[in-house]
Symmetry: none
DNA sequence: GCTCGAAAGGTCAGGAAAGGTCAAAGTCGT
DNA sequence: ACGACTTTGACCTTTCCTGACCTTTCGAGC
């Protein structure tokens, strides 16, 4: 965890945790100055780290009084977690998106690092010997099954 | 036990034992320099020695600030139980055999009634829309994944 | 209202710094 | 001599960071 993008990411996540309503608003230029980088670096962080897959929505406005708003979506308040998981994962899923989802669950404190690694290991193990064209659907099934098992109460 | 791959393997395992949280993070290039070998030798060690099967997960990142992270699964099913699961379930399994295995696990007190019902439900749900000829293998993967999660220590 | 300029934020391509892949060559036990 | 495992090197992909240039919004002055 040694690069600038990571630092900016964790700074923003820290802000988000202390924020009311899981939402923060800030200015790109200020943030860039704070980290002594070019403003477009902020966009890089936003597009690579604060994606919908990882549970964030970013809204911006240009011009005078412009801002960047980051909203964190939560699995938590959902009445029906099962159907949420169903829609998030769908009928098939890439390894990348699976990783994002697991990361997101860890971020929200619903999974710990060990659980995440375990699930990842099982996904890899069970998926590697399959013909590539089936991997996506099997991965989705496995992921849903394990996540539901882990989040069940 | 005199080859380079073995030395690198045991070096990494030593690091892992002394590591907090069973996880280490390092750079491929540095490690390669340390052992005076080409970087791809590190990949060889990782893919042959630190596999999910053996209870490790490797996550990497390229680019500036890239790294290799090796996570040792702290709760993996004990060795004999894992191989029991592997041989009992195999590459595919019928619904009947799945049921009886679950019942047996419940009898042995390894699963409670709720767990068993849950697993059974997931198996049915994830399996029903599949083409019949794939059901057996997918069922086996799902069953292994869930049982391992439930029996991990 | 319009126009224009200043003050945001957005896009994109390129270079550098990781790590990944694959096949050929080497090694070692039987 | 054969086969399995190891080692190497040439070439590839991904990620990060920057800088030049573009678009949108607001408000002051006409």
């Amino acid at each position: 965890m040694g690069n600038l993008a990571d630092y900016i990411e964790s700074y923003l996540k820290r802000l988000l945790e202390n924020a009311e309503q899981g939402m923060i608003e800030l200015q790109r230029r200020e943030l860039a100055e704070m980290f002594r980088c070019v403003p477009s670096q902020i966009n890089y962080v936003l597009t690579t780290r604060f994606t919908p897959d990882r549970g964030y929505v970013v809204e911006t406005r240009r011009g005078g009084g412009g801002y960047i708003r980051i909203v964190r979506l939560s699995f938590r308040p959902s009445q029906d977690r099962a159907s949420l998981i169903e829609t998030e994962i769908g009928d098939e899923i890439t390894e990348r998106r699976a990783d994002s989802l697991l990361l997101r669950l860890e971020d929200e404190g619903l999974l710990d690092e060990g659980d995440r690694a375990f699930v990842k290991a099982v996904l890899e193990r069970e998926t590697e010997r399959l013909h590539p064209s089936y991997r996506g659907t099997v991965r989705a099934s496995l992921l849903k099954a394990m996540v539901m098992l882990l989040l069940r109460e």
